[in-house]
């Protein structure tokens, strides 16, 4: 979808007018209050889409919630002015706000599953949303409207009685959009509406949102951390950092010529499919790096010995028994996958959620027993490893996880976390292990003074660095990284990718890099494997995959990238 043409905002009064919006959260136990949003002002005309972009903690979601006064009034202080169609919302009575919410201003959240009631059919939920604001409408009329609305977002009326869990993620988000537009609101606040969705579905939902928005003439505030989402959807974009505006401009202008260094870094850090693979990425500290990380010389054909080989690998989970046949249909998470990783090589594993890529990586990491197929490590059979090989595998194959908040034990200090692999796999004594832990921290760009801190004292990017340090501790030959940067902000993502590329260059470790993000995979990997529904669809060199994909599925995946 193309960005909409900017309308002449001067001729009509803006639907939403925010002036000097400041939101403060009371500190814990009477401590100093935290200011989440400071002095923000913007206007939103009818039919306009404003993208609100920022990284974690920038206060962008707080703005979205404040527009509908959804904060807990006991702990939050909202000052300034929010005028929706000429009506002041800051300090308005609760009864007045209730009339606004859902009718004049609606909200779409990131997670549709938790936003919908699990016990009611979607049709009933939509009808209820209508009747709330149209008390005189009868049941039949509300149901008719619900059916029409669902039909409009592409869900057949036959599914009116289905419950939210029976829909896929994209369908649920459509239901949410239908519900938000049920009462023809003047303002729609969409808070990360597509973040939880796969790229292909994301595109579809965004297109639908744009279509409906034009049809109804709704003003949309699109809150997102992803510049790519905003780029294709919003007329204007406002960049938020630490609760304050950094820059605001028409989207095309902002992306083409960002004025402020922060915006420039943000735009530059967002990887696109035209980056130079293996080059250092721009970060906030270093907006225009010129470095190109040394690449592994391309192995001509087959290496002497593959580091890790998987043949016909499959993992079937026992399924639930269904009545007519009473035979358990097993779920084939991984179905006959063959992979090979050469020493020092980086293999990317790409697929949408549920494609079996994580399960495959878990099998290679030894966390999951395969139900079929063979696994070889360094020439030895590792399908059922004996004690010695298992020890070797647990030393030479290490893991980096997606969620930096879950991958570190919150009750153990960094020193203790790094100590575990060293104690298990090296003969070092306590003092030497501490020294080595300090060295590892230094290697990932953290000061050794942080050794005795707990994970909660670090930011997400720093935690991911600690996770990488832990993986490096026993000097592994293969690192399996399962979506290592997808939970991070773009600028942090760039820093962590730079770190990984630097470490790869210095240490010559092989990587299995699991990701759903094609741009990241293209930038980082030598060869790429594409998985779809548990099967390997394509496995080829990077250049070939991105320039001349063999299969229809890969082409679709590439097309969904904005």
């Amino acid at each position: 979808m193309k960005p909409l043409e900017s309308r002449n905002a001067a001729e009509t009064e803006p639907v939403l007018s925010v002036r000097d919006l400041t939101v403060e959260f009371a500190g814990p136990r009477g401590g100093a209050p935290t200011t989440a949003v400071r002095g923000l002002s913007f206007d939103l005309a009818a039919g306009e889409v404003l993208g609100l972009v920022g990284e974690s903690g920038s206060g962008k979601s707080t703005v979205g919630l404040a527009l509908l006064s959804l904060h807990d009034p006991r702990t939050t202080r909202v000052t300034g002015s929010i005028r929706l169609a000429g009506r002041e919302l800051v300090g308005a009575a609760e009864s007045e706000l209730r009339a606004v919410r859902g009718a004049r201003a609606a909200l779409v959240f990131q997670d549709a599953l938790t936003s919908l009631s699990p016990f009611h059919g979607v049709g009933a939920q939509l009808a209820e949303a209508y009747r709330l604001h149209h008390p005189r409408a009868g049941r039949a009329e509300a149901r008719r409207r619900a059916a029409a609305m669902l039909d409009r977002v592409g869900i057949p009326a036959a599914r009116l009685r289905d419950h939210p869990h029976q829909f896929s993620g994209g369908m649920r988000q459509r239901v949410m959009i239908a519900m938000a537009l049920m009462n023809d609101p003047q303002l729609l606040v969409a808070d990360e509406p597509t973040t939880a969705l796969d790229a292909r579905v994301q595109r579809q939902v965004l297109d639908l949102l744009g279509e409906l928005q034009r049809e109804h003439g709704t003003a949309v505030l699109l809150v997102s951390h992803d510049l790519g989402v905003v780029a294709g959807t919003a007329d204007r974009t406002l960049v938020l950092r630490d609760g304050a505006e950094v820059e605001s401009a028409p989207t095309a202008e902002l992306l083409a010529a960002p004025r402020r260094p922060y915006t420039r870094a943000l735009v530059g850090a967002a990887l696109r499919l035209d980056s130079v693979p293996g080059s250092a990425l721009p970060t906030v500290d270093e907006p225009s790096p010129a470095r190109l990380f040394a690449r592994r010389p391309k192995a001509a054909g087959r290496p002497e010995r593959w580091l890790m080989e998987a043949e016909e690998l499959s993992v079937h989970f026992p399924g639930r028994r269904r009545l007519p046949a009473l035979r358990a249909e097993s779920v084939r998470a991984v179905d006959g996958v063959g992979l090979r990783i050469a020493p020092g090589e980086t293999l990317g594993l790409v697929g949408e959620s549920g494609s079996g890529k994580s399960t495959t990586s878990r099998v290679l990491a030894g966390l999951q027993r395969p139900t079929g197929g063979r696994l070889r490590y360094d020439g030895q059979d590792a399908t059922r490893p004996d004690r010695e090989l298992r020890r070797r595998l647990s030393r030479e194959v290490q893991l980096v996880f997606q969620d930096p908040y879950a991958s570190l034990n919150p009750r153990r200090t960094v020193a203790q976390t790094l100590d575990t692999p060293l104690r298990l796999h090296t003969p070092l004594d306590a003092a030497q292990r501490r020294e080595r832990a300090a060295e590892l921290l230094d290697q990932v760009g953290l000061p050794a003074a942080h050794l005795d801190r707990y994970p909660h004292e670090f930011s997400g990017g720093q935690r991911q660095r600690i996770g990488i340090a832990r993986a490096l501790a026993p000097e592994p030959r293969l690192i399996i990284a399962d979506e290592p940067v997808s939970a991070l902000d773009v600028s942090v993502q760039a820093q962590v990718l730079n770190l990984l590329m630097e470490l790869r260059e210095r240490l010559g470790v092989a990587f299995l890099f699991v990701s759903h993000d094609l741009a990241v995979v293209r930038h980082f990997c030598d060869r790429v494997a594409v998985m779809h529904r548990g099967r390997l669809v394509e496995l080829t060199d990077r250049e070939q995959l991105f320039e001349a994909p063999h299969t229809e599925y890969t082409r679709e995946l590439l097309a969904a990238r904005h």
Binding site: F25, P28, R29, T34, A36, S56, G57, G59, K60, S61, T62, Q110, D191, E192, T195, H225, A365, G366, L367, R390, R391, S394, R395, V397, Q398, L399, F401, Q402, D403, Y405, A406, S407, L408, N409, P410, R411, R412, Q416, T417, T420, P421, L424, H425, R453, H456, E457, F458, S459, G460, G461, Q462, G467, R470, P474, A487
Partner: protein
């Protein structure tokens, strides 16, 4: 904390270290008061012999019977308000004529000894069972579920009423009195046998969700032993749950012990005990209502203080309130 988009995510600059648990409990006004009362009771229990020596009375001597003029012929204290005087600060026990203050003081020792021992044993058992079963899962988990259901269905009170005489007749010489330690042991054992299940159940649930977390997977992938995973990775994460359980278990056991003694199957004469004092107080309530007041109020204060302290500890450990 896994959300990507929360304001609470700490920035690159780490904040100051979190205040200690004690600080946070004391910061809460109710918590501070509860802690003070609990500490006062502990101090009184510890210093009971010293206080009794300074005060010049002991909990077993029958002052009312030995000294004429203190009790009437019917065994009721002569002085008003249960015989409160400069000599006997909290009055005298009707009938036997023992000193109420020292009995109360030594009664704290009885209650606390049993409650702390039972809380210790149940916590240990609960942790062992809950963490092990939660981590192992599978058949161990199913067996445990069954056992827990059976034990929870057991009528604890009836069991105690039934086995208490059996134990006495089996293990104690019919002519000798049951030794004190045996009474204590029986009570602690019965409390422990049933008290560990709730903790084990809640720990099992916690550990089940923890074991799927990445940091546990990471330790497993690095080749850590089960022992390491349980002791180093899992236990530290259930610490707060344990602390809350233990603080809440103590007052529950104090109340149960008093209830059992009230029914006559708890601690027997001559060991001072609040439950028995309350029982005696209810018997003589018509002639001497004051006697019921002291142990009643003491028990109420004690249990209330401990419960409030438990609440304060839980609040202090709650990450949502600590933020």
């Amino acid at each position: 904390m896994a959300a990507l988009d929360t304001v609470a995510v700490t920035g690159p600059v780490p904040g100051p270290a979190e205040p200690s648990l004690l600080r946070r409990v004391v910061h809460d006004r109710v918590g501070a008061a509860a802690l003070a009362v609990v500490l006062l009771f502990l101090l009184l229990a510890l210093a009971a012999p010293l206080i009794a020596a300074l005060y010049g009375k002991n909990p077993v001597e029958h002052y009312g019977q030995n000294t004429p003029g203190l009790l009437s012929d019917g065994g009721v204290p002569m002085l008003p308000n249960g015989g409160i005087s400069g000599e006997f600060w909290f009055g005298l026990e009707p009938g036997l004529g023992r000193d109420v203050l020292t009995q109360l003081l030594y009664g704290i020792r009885t209650s606390l000894l049993i409650a702390f021992a039972a809380a210790g044993v149940t916590t240990a058992l609960g942790v062992l069972a809950g963490v092990a079963v939660g981590y192992l899962g599978g058949i161990a988990d199913r067996l445990f579920g069954f056992l827990a259901n059976v034990l929870l269905a057991f009528p604890t009170l009836l069991l105690l009423l039934a086995i208490s005489p059996v134990i006495q007749s089996r293990l104690v010489d019919p002519n000798a009195a049951e030794p004190d330690w045996m009474q204590f042991l029986v009570l602690v054992l019965v409390f422990s046998a049933f008290g560990w299940i709730p903790l084990a159940l809640s720990l099992r649930a916690t550990v089940r969700s923890l074991r799927e977390r990445d940091f546990v997977q990471s330790a497993r992938a690095q080749g850590a032993s089960r022992f390491h995973v349980v002791v180093r990775e899992l236990l530290p994460n259930v610490r707060s749950q344990l602390l809350v359980h233990a603080t809440m278990a103590v007052p529950a056991f104090v109340a149960s012990e008093a209830a059992l003694s009230f029914l006559g199957v708890g601690v027997t004469e001559p060991v001072p005990d609040w439950g028995r004092m309350i029982s005696r107080g209810s018997e003589v309530f018509r002639s001497d209502p004051t006697y019921l007041v002291f142990p009643g109020v003491a028990l109420l204060l004690f249990v209330l203080a401990f419960n409030l302290l438990g609440d304060a500890v839980r609040d202090a450990l709650d990450p949502r309130r600590a933020r």
